[in-house]
């Protein structure tokens, strides 16, 4: 590191516990919002969640059916590509393992799709074995629309844009295909610990 910003000291740093803040991130207590367009408002009566693509029998749940699935409470740190991280966020959701239970697929990639046309791509193995959820509550309250409600994907080990808001389903794919932000230059995988913010990082 041979460059120094003259006169810059930065904020007192003891606030972030060692080893918890990925490179280039800083800790926030509020919950910033990032999205590319208007917040969709799909009524629960018309909401469904689907598994499509490389699957013999596509699956679909109505909101009621989805909410009847077993749920988990998840406490995780989240990291946004716009540099903020938020520790110990508490979510309630359905594990992707539950949604994919018994599914036989050769797919290796997933495209999560959302209301408003938003998509994001994630390797299937990053969504299974307790690594991802479809979350419907945050901090004990129903998830607000501006934070992705009624339900968003939660993949806390990747940058938060991978945790698609307003998620309506997962498309199982044998080949990788970039989603919305990924086609605009954001990293294909998005590991905060390797600081994979933009294509080529």
């Amino acid at each position: 590191m041979d460059f120094i910003s003259r006169g810059f000291r930065g904020r007192p740093r003891e606030q972030a516990p060692a080893g918890r803040l990925p490179p280039g991130q800083y800790m926030v207590r509020d919950f910033p919002v990032l999205s590319a367009g208007p917040t969709p408002h799909t009524p629960l009566s018309r909401w469904t969640f689907s598994i499509t693509g490389e699957i013999d029998e596509p699956r679909q749940w109505t909101w009621e059916q989805f909410r009847a699935l077993p749920t988990e409470t998840i406490t995780k740190d989240i990291h946004c590509v716009t540099k903020w991280s938020k520790f110990d966020t508490v979510w309630e959701g359905v594990s992707v393992d539950t949604l994919l239970d018994g599914v036989d697929t050769t797919a290796e990639y997933v495209l999560a799709f959302s209301d408003g046309g938003y998509t994001t791509n994630i390797p299937l193995q990053d969504l299974t074995e307790g690594k991802a959820w479809v979350a419907f509550a945050f901090g004990g309250e129903p998830l607000e629309p501006e934070h992705g409600g009624p339900a968003r994907l939660l993949v806390p080990h990747l940058y938060f844009w991978k945790s698609a808001k307003w998620v309506r389903g997962l498309r199982l794919m044998s080949e990788n295909s970039p989603g919305f932000w990924e086609t605009y230059g954001y990293h294909d995988y998005g590991d905060p610990w390797r600081e994979q913010r933009y294509s080529g990082d």
Binding site: R9, G24, Y26, V28, V33, A36, G37, P38, Y198
Partner: protein, 252 residues
């Protein structure tokens, strides 16, 4: 060019501050000299800025490029000082002519305007949310574009209006740019513009009708962006014609 610009590897660069401009009591523009290998940018894109302390500690933040792509050889960012902020007070108060700043970019390919998506354009800004929209307004002027464009700009008071003179001058060219201000806190005596937060009624008066095929860019604090985007959809705009960018976690 859009794709080429964003898909190349984004390496950290150093730019020398060549000029500082006081925009308002809380806002300053920094002009950075660019090296020749800068790939150029699209109006609406941003850069990431990285500050490094002597002990190696680093902080990164995003800032919109406020200058037009046609303004070659340099790049302007306009920064609002956030009271207890880590990076913005340094950029506004500390960094001065001759200092170096590390940055990389250009970043973002969705919240951009390049004349081709057409118009008419509705630009809605709250506070420093004007910055990426100013790049579009400057790009439009530099191109001699006549795409009908309306800017609806919400500020706290007249002295908080960023780029006021330049915007007024551009509007006076009568080439299809119209500017509407709303002042939410303090108004000078005799103020005839809007004097409240942007609402449905204001957007009905200022915005285009959905059947005119408008394209909207909305930028500012989250509550403003949420309210405006929602109102436009209520007015019949297609959601995919409303592009948003949010700067701050909370209201400003």
């Amino acid at each position: 060019m859009a794709r080429a610009a964003v898909q190349r590897r984004l390496t950290w660069r150093r730019g020398r501050v060549t000029r500082r401009v006081d925009e308002t009591p809380r806002v300053r523009t920094l002009v950075l000299a660019l090296e020749e290998d800068w790939p150029g940018h699209l109006a609406g894109q941003h850069v990431d800025v990285r500050l490094t302390a002597e002990d190696g500690y680093q902080a990164q933040r995003s800032y919109s490029i406020a200058s037009a792509p046609e303004d070659v050889g340099q790049l302007a960012i306009t920064v609002e000082r956030i009271g207890d902020g880590e990076v913005s007070p340094y950029l506004v108060d500390e960094l001065t002519e001759g200092d170096q700043l590390e940055f990389r970019g250009p970043i973002g390919g969705y919240f951009v305007w390049d004349e081709t998506p057409g118009g008419p354009l509705l630009l809605v800004a709250g506070g420093s949310g004007i910055c990426p929209l100013m790049a579009m307004i400057r790009h439009r002027a530099a191109r001699g574009s006549r795409v009908p464009t309306r800017l609806l700009y919400s500020s706290r008071s007249l002295e908080d209006v960023i780029y006021r003179e330049e915007v007024d001058l551009l509007a006076a060219r009568s080439d299809g740019l119209e500017v509407f201000h709303t002042l939410t806190r303090d108004r000078p005596a005799g103020w005839t513009g809007y004097a409240r937060r942007i609402d449905l009624e204001m957007l009905t008066e200022v915005g285009w009708r959905p059947d005119e095929g408008p394209l909207g860019f909305v930028c500012g604090p989250t509550p403003l962006v949420e309210a405006v985007a929602e109102a436009l959809v209520q007015l019949g705009w297609s959601p995919d014609r409303v592009k948003t960018e949010r700067f701050g976690p909370t209201g400003g």
